[in-house]
């Protein structure tokens, strides 16, 4: 039976051997904080993957035109007209489950009077639903609207980085020249986070000038000899439908394009699965490292408990003489190691969160403070206390009291 006096005894013991207790604690603190750190970083990576997928809309299938080298174009130009607006209608007619659609074409910025370097700046000729479907948030002014498209209004929305560089936050209402026409800036986008290695990097929008598609065709001559569009996006019911849609679209579109695969279909579900499986391998590595450090911590506790017992052998003899049974001696030492592991675990959880926060901050990784991680590491540390405390405790209980009393 476990009594209050067990805890009091342990406290006496810790008070009389502060250094030894601190060392045992340290091992557990390091072990548990590495578990918490590893899990937080792993969990953070997981969430980052999901966030990057969400950045382009999780329930959207994108069809992206492949870059075809010029010499190949002459070869296939008679078979395929490249990605074009007719594809949208044809796909919606044949593939079930495709919802709202949008499309865009992007080209490098040519002649312009933007007061900043225009290297790498893109003109995105967009059908206005692009804002909604690609999750482009407007922080100043407004997004492009169907009327802009319908009446070929000369209005643009600027990407966040471009607006900041060119107009230091005062882009609204400015007139800019693109090609041979003047446009009014009606909106500025919120910054998009990079999707890492996504095939369709949302960061592109940060350095872009978004123009209604019809206006761009008319006024800036963004047309291409071969393809009409760079991207078509369809909304589907959910993330889980994207891969099914991809499989259905593929053959239909290939047939439409005369058997030429001059496009690439991006299904968020597929990307997510790929990234998850790489992450899963990494997680196994992280967790193994954490488990090893926890075991090392446990061995430290065991070591110190054994040293403890050697030193306190005459105490064990005396306690047996005044009436402690083997079971009570065992419980006493077991409780001592569980307390060390419990307290070490508590400090370790806090420490682990601090460390993972610092690592996340220092290396610009996302970390997630998972509740589960805390509960699991806490439980683990108590389990370590029991597992690694058992053997020393059993040894203590089997000490012969007569011999023990002959020591000191």
């Amino acid at each position: 039976m476990i009594k209050k006096s067990h805890f009091r005894r342990s406290l006496v013991q810790f008070r009389t051997h502060p250094l030894r207790t601190a060392l045992a604690l340290l091992g557990m603190v390091l072990g548990v904080s590495s578990v918490v750190g590893m899990v937080s970083i792993g969990e953070g990576a997981q969430r980052e993957i999901i966030a990057s997928i969400e950045a382009l809309g999780g329930d959207v299938v994108h069809i992206k035109a492949k870059d075809i080298p010029d010499e190949r174009i002459t070869e296939i130009v008679n078979d395929s007209r490249g990605l074009n607006r007719n594809d949208i209608l044809a796909l919606q007619a044949t593939v079930p489950g495709l919802g709202e659609s949008t499309y865009a074409r992007w080209t490098n910025l040519g002649v312009s009077d933007l007061p900043t370097a225009t290297y790498n700046v893109k003109i995105v000729a967009a059908e206005p639903r692009l804002f909604e479907i690609h999750k482009l948030k407007v922080v100043q002014g407004r997004a492009l609207q169907q009327l802009d498209q319908q009446f070929q209004r000369k209005v643009v929305v600027l990407g966040s980085e471009l607006a900041a560089r060119a107009y230091a936050g005062n882009a609204l209402g400015k007139r800019i020249r693109l090609g041979y026409a003047y446009f009014e800036v009606v909106g500025v986008l919120a910054a998009k986070k990079s999707g890492g290695d996504l095939p369709l990097d949302p960061e592109l929008y940060n350095r872009s000038v978004i123009v209604p598609y019809n206006t761009a065709i008319e006024e800036i001559a963004v047309a291409d000899a071969y393809k009409e569009l760079d991207v078509i996006s369809f909304r589907v019911e959910s993330l889980g439908q994207t891969l099914i849609a991809k499989r259905a679209i593929g053959p239909v579109l290939k047939a439409l394009h005369g058997g030429v695969t001059d496009f690439e279909i991006i299904a968020p579900e597929e990307i997510l699965e790929k990234k998850r499986s790489t992450q899963a391998i990494l997680n196994v590595v992280l967790i193994s490292i954490a488990a090893i450090s926890l075991i090392v911590g446990g061995i430290g506790v065991m070591n110190i408990m054994l040293a403890n017992i050697m030193e306190r052998i005459s105490e064990i003899g005396l306690r047996r003489a005044v009436g402690a049974s083997r079971r009570e001696i065992r419980n006493q030492f077991l409780i001592e190691s569980v307390i060390i592991c419990f307290v070490g675990g508590a400090i370790g959880v806090v420490f682990g969160f601090v460390i993972s926060f610092l690592v996340g901050w220092g290396f610009d990784l996302q970390v997630a403070f998972a509740w589960e991680a805390m509960v699991v590491s806490f439980g683990l540390s108590v389990a370590v206390g029991v597992v690694f405390g058992s053997w020393p405790a059993i040894r203590a209980s089997q000490v012969n009291p007569v011999e023990a009393l002959q020591h000191g």
């Binding site: 008070r15 009389t16 003899g317 005396l318 047996r320 009436g323 083997r326 079971r327 009393l405």
Partner: protein
């Protein structure tokens, strides 16, 4: 009336590798309630071994042990521990106080293993320290006490659960003459007031004379007659 303690044909043999070392070869002994017995004998004759068997701290190799008519020679550990806790009080030559605790906590120790509430433990311990003349030093550490004072604490501890038998192995062996006298007086006084049965191992005839109603001698592993 059955004897408080009755040993019949107790033997104890230690095994040292392949060798067998016989220490006790058939001890017969009866002790009545309230009696004071001094055990004497050469060094190595087996006095401590006998005392440990009497106190249920060690098991005999063979023989019978009746405590108030109950066979306690081969009980399970839990039961033996209970018997030690309730019936016996041990006093050692080397005191065996726990140095991390105050002396009042040391006296409470046997009560931790019986069902005494914490409040009653403290009350009883203070009462006992008063009895042995250390009521003014209850929160001191054993290291701050003289040898004689430490042995008083140990005696207070031995009495904590109101044992019917006090076992003392050379209780004055580590003390100077003046402290010895004081301890002997204390034990005599305890016997007079509580009527505790006392079994005292000593090599000092004066101690045996003073404390023993009866003295037994051990030689060749037997009680000399």
């Amino acid at each position: 009336m059955t004897a408080h303690i009755a040993l019949t044909g107790i033997t104890k043999t230690y095994r040292r590798g392949a060798d067998e070392v016989p220490v006790l070869n058939g001890v017969d002994l009866e002790i009545q309630r309230g009696e004071r017995v001094a055990i004497m004998g050469r060094s190595g004759s087996g006095k401590s071994t006998l005392l440990n068997i009497l106190g249920c701290l060690d098991e005999p190799s063979s023989g019978g042990y009746l405590l108030d008519g109950v066979d306690v020679a081969h009980l399970p550990d839990d039961d033996l521990s209970k018997v030690r806790n309730r019936t016996f009080g041990f006093v050692f030559q080397a005191f065996h106080l726990l140095k991390g605790m105050t002396i009042v906590e040391n006296v409470e120790l046997p009560m931790e293993y019986s069902n005494v509430s914490e409040k009653d433990q403290r009350h009883r311990a203070l009462e006992l320290l008063e009895l042995v003349g250390l009521g003014h030093r209850v929160s001191h550490r054993p290291s701050e006490l003289s040898g004689g004072e430490r042995q008083r604490v140990a005696i207070a501890r031995a009495l904590a659960n109101r044992p019917s038998i006090l076992l003392a192995d050379e209780p004055t062996g580590a003390l100077d003459t003046r402290a010895q006298v004081a301890i002997l007086e204390l034990l005599t006084q305890i016997h007079a007031s509580l009527g505790t049965t006392m079994i005292i191992v000593t090599h000092d005839p004066k101690v045996a004379e003073e404390l023993g109603d009866r003295t037994i001698r051990i030689s060749d592993g037997r009680v000399e007659t």
